[in-house]
Amino acid sequence: MKKFKFFLMAVAAVIAATVTIACDPTDDPEKPVIKDTYSFDLFVCAVKHGGMSQNKNGTYVRSVSALTADQPRVEFQGKGIDITQNYTLESITRGKYYYQVPQKATGGFVKFHIERNAAGEESIKEDAEVPFKDNVYAARKYTHAWIGDSTTLVVVGTKDNATKIIWTKLAESNLTVQAEGTFDISLPENYNAFSTAGLLTYRQTDKKLYYFYIVKPKSGQSDAATSMTYIAIINPETMAVESNTAVSTDLMEETAGSAYGELMQSMIMQDPSGNLYVAGLKTVNGQEMGVLRRIKKGETTFDPTWNGFPNPEGKLLTVQYLGYGKALAYSRDEKLGTKIDSKSHFYSIIELADGQRSRVQFNGQDLPYCGGRFSQRSDVLNGKAYIGVGGEVAEDGVEQDYPTIYIYDCKTGEVEKGIELAKGFCFDIIRAMAE
């Protein structure tokens, strides 16, 4: 009998291992696996980088089938979709669809996708549009998670000048509002506002929603040193708050972003084991510096002994799981500039086992620094990380190179040069989409 049990356990272990290996190592539990038919949507802005603000200078999108170097350069002269007035750069995506509270402020949610005709011309097709029910969200100011085998979208935001936290469940198919409510979370004493949106994610291993939010002395922007981060664990069925724990400010004062969820930048990642990682920041010698914290599988609070972003040069802005115990980090070197467009942002690979970090290189050279504090110029698909870099500018102001996408092999670490984009634009987003 023992041998039989052992045999069964062995078979189960083999099956589990097989399933794990069969899963794309880049799998994000929040993201459907895109295998065969996919495309990449590339977002650029004119004049200055967009994201997290209303860039009225123009936001343009091109959809291309591949990002390899053999593809023609991506041009925007008379091509692409101008989304400036109607849609926000920030969006929820899944499969081939975008979901958002649109810039055009119709008073509801919209679901759309980008189509390409035979001539390669893109257009936007709206698939659903529904009004808000009772809870109202402003464009860009919400966070989200997928539950119920991705058939339900949960949106969380705040109301009454960020003093209450609201949630809405939407059916993925037609955006029907399934349920709404307000979290039973109150502001602690001496704090007067929640973060605008916070960060919401769903962890498959314990089937719970994790909601990371910040409490602040006043609404709007404030110093991280005056804030405190909380982790609320939510039952996705009932949306009841099962626990609500303050994070020690020694570990993290704020999450890397809190106003706009992960509508543009990825700040939370999970590995196949169920470890959950959160990018954040804390003040060191008066400067806000990045941290990467981990909630181990089976735990609900940060591991105080682990930081995946030690010795930071500045803020950690985005993290994406690459598989093979590695993550792609997009961070800033504070001494090179702290403005949105400062050429101070760079990519590096984090070894999650020990926090070792190294710049992403091509032909032995570091990929250049880029502008774009609020950019997500990288995506991970089928074992490859696609990393976009803006064109380098020489001292005379002349752009030396075309903005280029580099392709990082998650397994081998090899980097190849990919497609180029037209010069002069601020390259902001790569989104891998199902066809």
């Binding site: 004119a46 004049v47 200055k48 997290m52 603000s53 209303q54 009225k56 200078n57 123009g58 343009y60 925007f76 008379g78 091509k79 692409g80 979709i81 101008d82 989304i83 400036t84 007035q85 109607n86 055009k104 402020a105 119709t106 008073g107 011309e121 893109e122 257009s123 549009e129 529904v130 009004p131 009772d134 809870n135 109202v136 969200y137 402003a138 935001g157 109301k159 009454d160 000048n161 609201i166 029907t176 509002v177 605008t196 609404s219 106003a259 403005k339 949105i340 467009d341 050429k343 502008g371 803006g390 064109g391 500018v393 102001g397 752009e399 037209a422 010069k423 002069g424 634009f425 601020c426």
Partner: protein, 719 residues
């Protein structure tokens, strides 16, 4: 000599009586002490508006007296002139943006009889000034006479009020579509014994502005989906009150005119939409009230025979309140959901007060050096405070700043060749004094980079010339190196959504104008007038609003070169004062000359046409006047106006596929009006139909203008 004085006086007189052809006995009592009686004299002379057009400056002059009985807002008339474009955000009382030869916003300055219009209160604009009060509107394009003493960059509009010598009463009342009503009263009475003159003005406007919004999205009955409907605006009430009493004396030995005045204005406005009509607002309001006291003094032959003096002083108390205290999300059917953020600012609730006391002192001294040569010295002080607080938002830190501008101008006019050639040379000095109390966010505002009490000097200069080649054709050109000092909002922010930028530099522009104009008498009462102008504006340190890194915050910054060039042309035909035809067209070519972005990258928009601005448009007018139709001295004037504006892209034209781009569509607007005046113009009844064909029209993206509207107006003019 006496004859020449008579001729001069006659010219002065006919300046008041546009195009008057007097065939009866005239009794004239003017600046001359003599009384002159003419029998059966025919006087033909150029109107003051025509004289202005013939100056070296590039100027449009509109004679409002001719159309006052049908006009409801002077903006309507100004919008029909060449080179001008007014973009309105909605109906009566809505915000508007006026551009002159490609420059708009704060680059344009407004004056009322030479004094800054702001002095009447921030709520008083071209749109709500009583029309009956206005004699003419002067529109200076790019190059502005030193006499205005202002730091306008793109142009100036001077509204000249009626200065009749007789007692009169001018009353009008009207009502029209969208629950609009309007009453104006304007009068003058001289006490017989003392000669004390009283000039009361009263103007009241009201509109519900409930015009139909077409194809707007609202929720279905179950609130589960959107449906498309046509629905009236429901929160756009506008009320304005303006009252003024001026008292003084004229034609005294010590003063040609000395008047003191007090005025008050109050504007109450509901706010219906945000930047686009999909952002529906249902509760927010804006209230503005102002009180002004002023005095003016005019004297020819001041101290010496050749010196004339005009001096004015004015102080205004201006208080505005924005009420944004509702967390609601409205739909066009008036229903709402309790929302998360305030309606206007999209943040917390506010009851924001802004008090801006304004003091203006203006002095003009003209000295006649010799016949045809004159020197003019001008000084303008404009001191503005900026105090803000919030009754609701406890986190708001009140601010209190002061900005003072001194502008000194010196100009020299000369005339040669019996008036065929005239030149004007001028120089201006701008002194900007800033005293700053705020020190918050110094890395953003630059508070640590500038002294807290600072004075700067900037020079400006210009020249204009007009040469009459033949009786039918004249050439004129002008140039100004102009300066525009930042306004309070740009420099000091608004304490909430706009950061201060204390390092902001003044805008500088080199403005060039070149024009040909003239008129040709075809005989038998047929008169043809024509004009064509070209312009170039080379603007540097252009002050532009930019979205700051944090959400929703703005800051004004200097950007490098913006170059604008363009032209306009106008042809007018008149037959015996009966048939009047006019056609004008304007072209504005504005390109982005910023080669590099703020980060030092090559700008992809370099040399692209500036988005979101009309670049070609035209106006046409046809009018016919019947005289003595029913009774002697009556007049029926039928008029048709047509406006066309070419569509334009909201964003940079070059990028993105044409089918995906947002556009402001082409406008075709036709207006009709009929005026019947009888008893020598004592009684006037007019009916106006705006947007006759009920065309869907937008000046701005997704901000629909009113559809077809009627307005009936009665005017009584007693003199």
């Amino acid at each position: 000599m006496k004859l020449s004085r008579i001729v001069v006086s006659l010219l002065c007189f006919v300046g008041f009586c546009a195009g008057l052809q007097a065939q009866d006995t005239l009794l004239f009592k003017g600046a001359l002490s003599d009384t002159l009686t003419l029998q059966n004299a025919t006087v033909t002379a150029k109107t003051r508006t025509q004289q202005l057009k013939e100056e070296a400056y590039s100027v449009n002059a509109l004679n409002i007296n001719e159309i006052v009985s049908t006009l409801n807002s002077v903006t309507t008339a100004v919008d029909r002139t060449s080179g001008i474009r007014i973009r309105e955000e909605g109906g009566v009382g809505s915000d508007f943006d006026l551009s002159i030869n490609g420059l708009s916003g704060n680059a344009i300055r407004y004056f009322l009889d030479g004094m800054p219009l702001d002095a009447k209160g921030s709520g008083i604009t071209l749109a709500n000034l009583p029309v009956n009060l206005i004699e003419r509107v002067e529109i200076y394009k790019g190059v502005i006479p030193a006499a205005f003493g202002s730091d306008a960059l793109g142009g100036a509009i001077n509204i000249v009020t009626n200065r009749r010598h007789r007692n009169y009463l001018d009353f009008s009342a009207g009502a029209g579509s969208f629950h609009t009503a309007k009453t104006d009263l304007n009068a003058q009475y001289t006490l017989p014994r003392s000669g004390l003159i009283f000039r009361p003005v009263l103007s009241v406007n009201y509109s519900k502005n409930d015009y139909i919004m077409r194809d707007v999205k609202v929720r279905n009955e179950e609130h589960t989906a959107f449906v498309i409907k046509d629905l009236p605006r429901f929160h756009d009430d506008y009320r304005s009150l303006f009252g003024q009493l001026e008292a003084g004396v004229a034609d005294r030995s010590w003063a040609d005119a000395f008047f003191v005045s007090a005025s008050l204005s109050r504007i109450d406005k509901d706010i219906q939409t945000g930047a686009t009509q999909s952002h529906v607002i249902g509760m927010a309001e804006r209230h503005t009230q102002s009180f002004n006291v002023a005095a003016r003094y005019e004297k020819a032959h001041f101290l010496t025979e050749n010196l004339s003096l005009r001096a004015s002083v004015s102080h205004t108390s201006d208080h505005s309140l924005v009420i944004d205290t509702t967390y609601r999300r409205y739909y066009w059917d008036g229903t709402y959901i309790d929302g998360s953020y305030s309606e206007i600012r999209g943040r917390g609730k506010t009851l924001r007060h802004t008090v801006r006391p304004l003091t203006v002192v203006r002095t003009n001294a003209d000295y006649a050096l010799a016949p045809g040569h004159g020197l003019s010295l001008n000084y303008l002080l404009n001191r503005s405070g900026n105090r803000q607080w919030d009754d609701w938002d406890d986190e708001y830190v009140p601010s209190n700043d002061v900005l003072a501008k001194h502008v000194i101008g010196l100009s020299y006019d000369q005339s040669f060749l019996n008036g065929r050639l005239s030149n004007v040379f001028f120089a201006k000095g701008y002194i900007n004094h800033l005293k700053v109390g705020q020190s918050e966010l110094s890395s953003t505002t630059g508070a640590n980079d500038v002294p807290s009490d600072d004075t700067q000097f900037y020079p400006g200069y210009g020249v204009g010339s007009r040469f009459r080649m033949t009786e039918a054709l004249s050439l004129k050109g002008s140039f100004e190196h102009s300066i525009r000092l930042p306004v309070v909002r740009e420099l000091l922010g608004n304490g909430s959504t706009v950061y201060a930028n204390l390092t902001l530099k003044p805008e500088v522009s080199d403005n060039f104008n070149l024009g040909l104009f003239g008129s040709h008498d075809l005989g038998s009462g047929h008169l043809l007038s024509y004009e064509v102008n070209g312009y170039i504006r080379l603007v540097d340190n252009f002050i532009q609003a930019t979205i700051y890194e944090t959400q929703g915050m703005m800051q004004y910054v200097n950007v490098a070169a913006v170059h604008i060039m363009g032209g306009d042309a106008e042809v007018r035909y008149d037959w015996a004062g009966k048939l009047h035809l006019a056609l004008n067209a304007s072209y504005d070519d504005s390109r982005d000359r910023r080669k590099y972005t703020q980060a030092g990258d090559l700008s992809v928009t370099y040399m692209n046409r500036t988005p979101n601005r009309p670049w070609v448009w035209c106006n046409a007018e046809a009018a016919y006047t019947f005289r003595n139709l029913i009774a002697g001295g009556d007049r029926l004037r039928l008029c048709c106006d047509y406006r066309w504006v070419h569509w334009f892209y909201l964003t940079w034209a070059a990028y993105g596929s044409a089918s995906s781009k947002s556009k402001v569509p082409t406008q075709h607007l036709t207006d009709l009006s009929a005026l019947y005046a009888w008893a020598g113009g004592r009684y006037n009844l007019s009916l106006e139909c705006l947007n006759l064909f009920n065309a869907l029209a937008f000046d701005n993206y997704m901000l629909q203008k009113p559809g077809r509207a009627f307005f009936l107006k009665f005017r009584l003019f007693l003199q």
